[in-house]
Amino acid sequence: MSSSRQDIEAEIYRIFREQFEIEDPGPDEDLREVHGFDSIDAIELLMEIEKLFQVEMDQETKKEALSYIRTINGICDYIEQVLPDADARVSEAVNR
């Protein structure tokens, strides 16, 4: 795993811990089934991601994102896909 992917994952885990009180879910664990992470939580998560990466996603991107928010790995995949410069942004966020 690249170091930037690790950084993104670490930040997502931090958000889950601090915002959703979900401690260290498995990377491929079904967040809804195992942790009761529902559609409202998914929208809150997108807001947290926007804050973290200092971006604003459009409505279509967000709707599409909801289908990826099933597992931690799915979330990280999506972030890498829609934010090509996620590496730089996450290191900026970590150092902020």
Binding site: E21, D38, I40, D41, E44
Partner: protein
């Protein structure tokens, strides 16, 4: 279908205590729950009124995040009292989720502290990512937030009634819950109301010159219902819930019966939205008696709305005198708590039930010199060891809404 309706459980959070024991102790010992207004970053420093009826006993909620995420402070209070209520009731989970149990619960305007957060976001200088609304802000703040957070937490699937008529919110909750059970639409109802600590409500009454301002240095001396030296109401926070059940079902399952609801009335003054109206209030009281099928001579005790305002107390005293004369004992319970707004009807109902159960009548706190315009009725100025068989709880709200609930110690 016309069924008897009884109250089988009660729970409250009030400025004078959160348990029956504490509330009864406060009522019997003249304890006031009014404290100096807390500082906030919005209005507190600009208000003339600097006192507030404040919940003082700490509450350990222990709600899981899946519930907390849609709750503002007002829903914390609401879910806390209903959690205690259902535990006290001994109702089975199957019944609670059967669709035969409904909820009638409201607040003055949802959660003002969450609404404040929303307005801050809306007027944030840099709109966009950092100034955006949360996904659940509406669910936390909306006017029916208490009722639906209750249904979610306790998996209640019956009817939902969400009255939001300021000071008659929870008396309407009980009244409409009573009608639901009486006419067979539901077999039981969780009824009540809640309001959180909120300076915007103080500002509303402050602007209308209706708040107490002369006792800022002596908070425990105000409000003073019916007293010559009263100078206005004191806004307060609180919550309360009662469980209404169909009598036969309650008896069959061996539920303790705290009281019977035998009548309810609600009308509107049909005119001014602020000033109390003698004809409207008198008519409400008469309709309450008609609904209960009793004459005025049967009434033992009246829990008066009595907020401590100059005109409101006079009009209410005149209405009571017109209907009852000076026979029933009359107490203004807001002298202890301040005006708990959406929860005042249910809190005053619960206090009345506690007095019925314990055989005493609390006096109107701070009623030292009765205003000459408020005389002619049976003011209680000293603690009395006296049984109450039939009582009424009167509440009146902005918008000209009036209610009267009639309660009875049930003949088993």
């Amino acid at each position: 279908m016309d069924r008897r309706v009884v109250i089988t459980a009660a729970s409250a959070v009030t400025p004078i205590g959160n348990s029956k024991q504490k509330i009864v102790h406060s009522l019997q010992n003249g304890v006031s729950g009014v404290l100096p207004l807390r500082h906030d970053d919005l209005l507190a420093d600009y208000l003339h009124c600097r006192v507030f009826g404040t919940v003082q006993e700490p509450i350990e909620y222990g709600f899981e995040r899946k519930y907390r995420k849609t709750m503002g402070p007002v829903s914390y209070y609401a879910c806390h009292v209903v959690g205690q209520l259902l535990e006290q009731s001994g109702l089975s989970r199957e019944f609670v989720s059967s669709g035969r149990l409904g909820v009638a619960f409201g607040s003055t305007h949802g959660s003002p502290s969450v609404q404040r957060h929303i307005y801050k976001a809306l007027y944030h200088q840099e709109k966009g990512v950092s100034g955006s609304l949360g996904a659940v802000d509406y669910l936390k703040s909306m006017v029916h937030t208490t009722a639906v957070n209750i249904t979610k937490m306790f998996e209640i699937t019956g009817r939902v009634i969400c009255s939001s008529t300021a000071c008659t919110t929870s008396s309407q909750s009980i009244g409409y819950g009573y009608e639901m059970v009486k006419y067979g639409m539901q077999d039981a109802m969780v009824c009540g109301g809640a309001d959180e600590y909120d300076t915007t409500t103080v500002a509303v009454f402050d602007n209308l010159l209706a708040c107490s301002t002369a006792y800022n240095d002596r908070p425990g001396q105000t409000p003073r219902p019916f007293d010559d030296d009263r100078d206005g109401l004191v806004v307060a926070e609180g919550a309360g819930a009662v469980l209404l059940e169909e009598y036969e079902a309650a008896r069959k399952r061996g539920a303790p019966i705290l009281g019977e609801v035998i009548g309810f009335s609600c009308n509107n003054n049909g005119g001014d939205l602020i000033f109390p109206n003698l004809d409207g209030i008198t008519r409400t009281i008469q309709l309450g008696l008609e609904s209960a099928g009793i004459g005025p001579e049967a009434m033992d005790f009246i829990s008066a709305h009595a907020t401590g305002t100059k005109m409101g107390d006079v009009i209410e005293a005149r209405a009571i005198e017109q209907v009852f004369g000076n026979s029933p004992m009359v107490t203004g319970l807001k002298g202890y708590t301040g005006h708990t707004m959406a929860s005042c009807g249910v809190i005053e109902t619960i206090m009345t039930l506690y007095m019925m159960e314990n055989g005493f009548v609390a006096p109107t706190l701070h009623l030292e010199n009765i205003d000459s315009r408020c005389t002619g009725i049976g003011h209680v100025t000293q603690l009395k060891d006296k049984a109450i068989d039939i009582a009424s709880v009167q509440n009146f709200a902005f918008g000209g809404v009036n209610t009267s609930l009639v309660l009875k110690v049930p003949a088993l």
